[in-house]
């Protein structure tokens, strides 16, 4: 059981009128001003909780509407399953009260959520006690723009841990995950990584932006801790105690550039992305790939992480006459940029290729704004293999029908934990350098297919090109297996 917090208000308006305010964006309070394309069960929803006060950044609470009953003669109900920054239910009850409405909000808050809130409010909490288990840190983004792509990450890490433990753990000891939230902020990421190390983790899986990974890698330079970046990245930091898995921009672009130019019927590209190391590396790779494949760059722009108004960049895209927009924004920034491109008519003239476009991000871009967008990575939910079907069944059984979709970004954590456990078993000891040596030559069958690690930043996997369609992606294999280097 979780704590159930409730608030109540009597409103002199009929339940139907109050219900109609939900999701309408009419300034009816942050809960009723939920951002969702439709108020129906299954719709993705974002609540912007003003936790930092009136002047601070709101915390985006991400979830999915799980039940809707419009108030007819009876009571109205809206139920939301929250995914971020903690998991739980938020219920809105609308009951007839005399000539008006009694509205109640009931929010679940579990231990994990309470602990997250306490840390977020700056309360010093003790480090989690050393257990008997084999501790592995998971650094993820439960808040900030990255929380959009991280919605399923923790559940998939837990699923892998459960499978590893059912299989005897690591030399008889259970894998125990300790989770840190970088808030999509490198400085906070290094503070949280330090906490994971103090708690006893000698390996940390980072499913964060490369900006956080690079900062954490520096911060832990003097520690004997193995740091693994699981998701797509530009490489360059691999070493004794650093392993970078995931797709590389050059491979993704080489697989996608040709099909995108054929699809768009033109060769003019506009490069736009967040202003940090990974999007910059994507632009560098794009210059090389487009030179090889006869593309032409007609414009380039960057915006800091956390930007919400992309009007100047969208206008520059429009006037550039681009046929393809290479969009290297991430998470909530990618959602906002693509929705604004759609709203301002860019879709009528140009296709969009986004290397970080994954299922949870597409869902929040929405079906309408998502049309004309493409992604390219090593995994999509739609992969029609038996291994993937069984994997998705296990995930849904553990996380429920309204759980967030799985993506290459979140699935990479599931794989990384399995690869790590296998390396630690083969190593026969916990010494991070020894485990890292075994991790650097690994191969396994995963939901995405065969993944082979052959060096600190050399990963071989099949890449897939995916077109955003209503409710998901249409996926096709690309011609080459990518060997990220």
């Amino acid at each position: 059981m979780a704590l159930a917090l409730s608030a109540e208000q009597r409103i002199e308006a009929p339940p139907g009128a109050v219900f109609a305010l939900f999701g309408a964006g009419s300034g009816a309070g942050w809960v009723f001003d939920a951002a969702c394309d439709r108020v129906v069960a299954g719709a993705a929803v974002t609540l912007r909780a003003p936790m930092g006060g009136p002047s601070g950044q709101p915390v985006e609470m991400l979830g999915r509407i799980s039940r809707v009953r419009p108030p007819g003669p009876g009571a109205g109900r809206i139920e939301i399953q929250l995914h971020m920054p903690w998991r739980g239910r938020l219920r809105v009850h609308l009951d007839v009260a005399g000539t008006g409405t009694r509205v109640r909000l009931i929010a679940d808050l579990d231990d994990v959520g309470l602990q997250w809130l306490m840390r977020r409010r700056g309360h010093a909490l003790p480090d989690e006690p050393h257990g008997d288990g084999h501790l592995v840190g998971l650094l993820t983004s439960k808040s900030g723009p990255g929380s959009v792509f991280a919605t399923a990450t923790e559940s998939l890490a837990a699923l892998a841990a459960q499978e590893i433990n059912a299989d005897g753990g690591i030399r008889g000891r259970r894998v125990r995950l300790i989770v840190g939230d970088d808030g999509t902020d490198p400085a906070l990421g290094s503070v949280e990584a330090r906490r994971l190390v103090r708690s006893g983790c000698r390996a940390i899986l980072a499913s964060t932006t490369s900006a956080t990974f690079a900062r954490v890698s520096d911060a832990l330079a003097g520690d004997r801790v193995l740091l693994v970046q699981t998701l797509m990245n530009e490489g360059g930091l691999g070493g004794d105690l650093r392993v970078q898995l995931g797709e590389r921009p050059y491979d993704q672009l080489r697989a996608a550039a040709g099909p995108m130019m054929r699809e768009a019927g033109g060769r003019r590209w506009f490069l736009a992305g967040n202003d940090y190391v990974w999007p910059q590396a994507v632009h560098t790779a794009a210059r090389r790939v487009l030179a090889e494949q006869g593309g032409r760059i007609v414009g380039e722009a960057f915006a800091p992480l956390g930007t919400r108004d992309f009007t100047p960049i969208v206008e520059a895209v429009s006037t550039s006459g681009a046929d393809v927009v290479l969009s290297s924004f991430v998470g909530a920034d990618l959602v906002a940029f693509e929705r604004q491109c759609h709203a301002m008519g860019v879709r009528d003239r140009a296709r969009s290729l986004a290397l970080a476009l994954d299922e949870p991000t597409r869902e929040r871009v929405g079906d309408a704004a998502g049309a004309g967008m493409w992604g390219v990575s090593g995994y999509f939910e739609q992969l029609p293999t038996a291994a993937n079907t069984a994997f998705l069944q296990r995930y849904r059984a553990a996380s429920g029908a309204f759980a967030p979709p799985v993506s290459s970004i979140s699935e990479s954590v599931y794989e990384a934990l399995h690869l790590y456990a296998s390396a630690a078993r083969r190593a026969g000891e916990d010494e991070p350098r020894t485990v890292a040596r075994h991790l650097r030559c690994s191969s396994a069958e995963f939901p995405r297919g065969t993944v082979t690690v052959d060096g600190p930043e050399t990963v071989s996997q099949q890449l897939f090109l995916a077109e955003a369609t209503a409710g998901g992606f249409t996926v096709s294999p690309t011609l080459q297996r990518a060997t990220a280097r």
Partner: protein
Amino acid sequence: MAPDLAFDALADPVRREILAVLASHEECSAGELSSAIHRVGRTAVSSHLRVLRTAGLIAERRTGRFRYYSLDPTGPAQDVIRLLQELFQGSLDATKIAAEAAAPASDRRAM
């Protein structure tokens, strides 16, 4: 307060239920709490209250032979619980203003 004690205190579902009851009331007597919590008896509620008080999660006030309990206004758990409740209440207050401004004047007269 000692936060590690607070986590141990929060690990128990009855104690979380006590906190939830206290979160929606200013102050409760031990008797009121016992009647609000059905899954265990009065003696068990008393011992849970002792754990919560030791952890610094709730405050106790004595008047004669009666004891009253409330959330400790200074603890981190209370800080965040209060923050969330204020956020949710503030959000509904804004809903009320928006809904009543949108309701036609004739409706309001009818009320």
